[in-house]
Amino acid sequence: MRLTLKHLLCLCLGIVASAALSEEFNEELDLRPLPDGKVAAWFSFSTLLKGATPRDTKTLGAEDESQLYTLFPLALGQILREYAVTELHLTLNAGKWNYDRWGYPDESGVGTGAELWAWMGENGPVSVDSRWRGLRNALAGLFCASLGSLDEQRTTSPVLTFQPEGFLPNRTASYQLRHATLPSEHVCTENLTPFLKLLPCKSLSGIASLLNPHMLLDADWHGLGVHVRYVEGAGVELRLASQAVLDPVRISREKRRDWSFSALFDRRIEQACPVARSSVIRVWLPQNETYAIIPSPTAMDSTYATYVVSEVEKPLDVAIRWPEEQNFEYPTAIKPQTHISVHRTLQGASQHAGRLALSVTNNHDTELQAGYLETLPWLLQFYLHTLHAEIDGVRRDDLVKLISYTPPLPHVQPALLQAIVTLPPKRTMQLTMDVVKPFLAYTEHPPDAQRGWDLPPAVFVPFASQNGSQAGSYPQQSAVCSTRMYTPVLLVDLATPDFSMPYNVIIMSCTLIALIFGMVFNLLTRRFVVVRVDEKAP
């Protein structure tokens, strides 16, 4: 009975909405077994607002058209229209994505912490920067995340690395990018709950019912993403994505890598989401191994099995077993799964200077190039003249091409370095930069000052070398393009003053100054006289 009521309600709303805009909701779940026994799960919920266009910045001062959505979340729609955001990407991740073992993620934004970037039109009555401020505060409220801290000290505009994923409506005004990361932010239940609220079926039915906070936040890596883009001819697309790397071996008692929905998520799909136009689960099948998959999929080929949730029998509990395997042996050596591997470290024990070192390995046998983006907050200032590249101990500064550099300004802007590195086949390049750590006033330190400060990840975008003639022989290299690779975040340890000393320092320094000042003027102003100290003297 409840179901019919809901259906009826949806129908009514749907009729009302169809007068304004038609909407389409698709959900998808990708499950991919990884070489180290883990399972990568990728949930994608996309809502397409057909025929809609992002708000024109010129209309910002005027009354906005009324917003009436059935499936598209109104809370987010209002934010997008209030600040005239054309394209928006917000990711909240926890953990370090291990590219070498897990390969490229389904969703490229896997930098630890919060990352927000948006393309916004210029030339409106409200400036891009003030809209950016409003946007991050609104999103902070919506997702219960500290996105308000993504202020000017963390905001940059790295246009080379963060190209729009959709289209920018061809209006007279140009577009601007704003990008900021907050590596110390961690995704938690309080972020997942508002995220689920944006889904038309919440986590009550359909694929979203697998999003169980207990299991998801226990994963080795987990992240949430909100992606809004404009697709010309289609409309505005909102994609809510959730990724997780789950470890069935850790959960299982027998140390087997067999997994099922009930084992991984502690939930099954009891019913399909009634408003979803399509609801598909794809399970990537193990290659060259004996396995069993239940229940039988709707469709299957050599690479993956597909389940259409509305068609299969419910409750749905997909499971894969490796019947011949007693317990899972962790592979000791896994061939790197990506074209390049990047490791970034901060060297040096002292609290006033150090060295930022990156080691970039080209795992391929052709020459590759990679865009290198470093956004360092002013808490760590590097000397650009000390940027050196070394391969096998030989200085190769010619392989690094500087594209742009914005120096840091304390309390105002972070440093932005964009470069292109050329990586010879099967070689490791060592990139080093000398850094200095600034000294902060005691009021600028956070309450847990000794913990240190998180540095945002560096981003690499590998692409096939343009002058490499063999580029065509590697078909997967075209897929390399626009896949951003994030390095893990770093912790920088800044020198701290004594926090209990302000009065003492003011008193002692002022005493010394007053002492010297007083004695100088004492000497200068009083007359010198000769006095007789001995009575007997003449």
Binding site: Q351, Y383, P407, L409, A441, S509, V520, L524, V533
Partner: protein, 404 residues
């Protein structure tokens, strides 16, 4: 020993030291180079300038545009030229010091020449910053050169050199008044016979105008080099607003690290204005010997300037050798020497313990900067005392000189 032997020998010795790998470890030292004088920051600025990025758009580079244009064009910086340039600047400073001494003694050659050169070139407070390639060595050299030219009454050259010095370090402007007085008075020692200024004091006005013109010209050149006025805030502004709280042997950095935000502007104003207070009293009290007023103001600067390095007290202590007539009247030279010894040992030790070893905290280093401030203060006070006490000469047994 003969000056023509000792001077080249000492410079050659310094040059050998400058090429040793030891200098690598001195370059990042906070005692030897401040953010305004650091060699790494200078290199960074030159690098950015050559790559078409405005070095003053960031906060790393705080050197004068004059140094920027010098090192990005005619004197490229590398591991060969830098030690040569810095040694040359020290040699120039020592040579100027000797010529100030000769002008003061009104003779062409004296027996103390070698001693004075040695006191400058072997003073660890001046030669360590120079080995660490701190541009404060250039400031010292320009300061001594302009004083020497002023002693020789070469007004234009002295004022131009001084205008360049002010471009490099704004706080040196304190010396303007005594320098101009020195130009119109006698450089020989008058401490023993104080008298009113014999020359017409209004003669300094055209000289001050000339200084203003040179400064405007140099500022204009600096603006041309940068293409905008952003250098003003990053170079001169830094010594007034203290944007970089990197530790140094001075008094400002920890005071403003620990300062409450709402009092910061007030105390910045107090600290800057406090420096100006000393100028006129020193010039009035030592109107008979303006060089001594310059010397005392350098002592004030070495204690109270915004970004001091060890070369500032080094210059003051080396200049002490110009005034041997005051030595018999020093009150407490032993105390001063011991305070300096104490601070010289504690400063690098506590800096290392705090920032590298991690076993000490900021208060340790702060305490040693206070001791260093006391050492400099004690030297300054004793010099003031001796400079004035000298006028009374020897007193008879049973009598003592006091202040009313």
């Amino acid at each position: 020993m003969d000056f023509t032997v000792t001077f080249p020998a000492l410079v050659a010795g310094r040059l050998v030291l400058a090429f040793t790998p030891l200098t690598q470890y001195l370059r990042d030292d906070h005692l030897l180079s401040s953010p305004l004088t650091s060699y790494a920051r200078l290199q960074e600025g030159v690098y950015l300038f050559k790559h078409g990025i405005d070095p003053y758009s960031g906060s790393t580079f705080r050197h004068s545009p004059l140094l920027l244009s010098l090192f990005s064009t005619i004197a490229p910086l590398n591991e060969i030229t830098a030690p040569l340039l810095w040694t040359a600047s020290d040699a120039l400073a020592a040579w100027s010091l000797v010529h100030i001494w000769r002008a003061r003694q009104n003779s062409t050659s004296t027996s103390r020449d070698s001693l004075i050169v040695a006191l400058y070139l072997l003073n660890p407070y001046t030669f360590l910053p120079s080995l660490g390639l701190s541009t404060s060595s250039f400031e010292n050299a320009l300061c001594l050169l302009s004083l020497m030219l002023a002693c020789r009454k070469q007004a234009s050259a002295a004022i131009l050199t001084f205008a360049i010095l002010v471009q490099l370090s704004l706080s040196s402007i304190l010396l303007l008044l005594p320098l101009l007085l020195l130009l119109i008075s006698n450089p020989t020692s008058q401490l023993a016979s104080p008298h009113f200024l014999k020359a017409d004091v209004w003669r300094i006005l055209p000289l001050a105008g000339r200084f203003a013109a040179y400064s405007l010209l140099l500022s204009g050149a600096a603006t041309l080099v940068c293409g905008n006025f952003s250098w003003l805030g990053n170079t001169w502004g830094a010594s007034l607003t203290l944007p970089d709280l990197t530790p140094n042997p001075g008094l400002w950095w920890y005071f403003f690290t620990e300062m409450f935000d709402h009092f910061r502007a007030f105390f910045l104003m107090v600290f800057s204005v406090h420096l100006l207070i000393y100028v006129v009293p020193f010039c009035i009290k030592f109107q008979h010997d303006s060089l001594y007023a310059c010397f005392l103001l350098l002592g004030v600067l070495s204690i109270f300037k915004a970004y001091p390095t060890l070369s500032d007290p080094g210059l003051f202590l080396s200049m002490l050798s110009l005034f041997p007539e005051t030595f018999p009247y020093l009150h407490h030279p032993i105390v001063t020497a011991l305070l300096h010894l104490h601070a010289a040992l504690l400063l690098p030790l506590f800096h290392y313990l705090w920032l590298t070893q991690g076993t000490g905290n900021a208060n340790f280093f702060y305490a040693s900067t206070l001791v260093f401030g006391m050492a400099n203060g004690s030297a300054l006070l004793d010099s003031i005392w001796a400079g004035m006490r000298l006028a009374l000469g020897e007193v008879q047994e049973g009598y003592e000189v006091m202040q009313e």
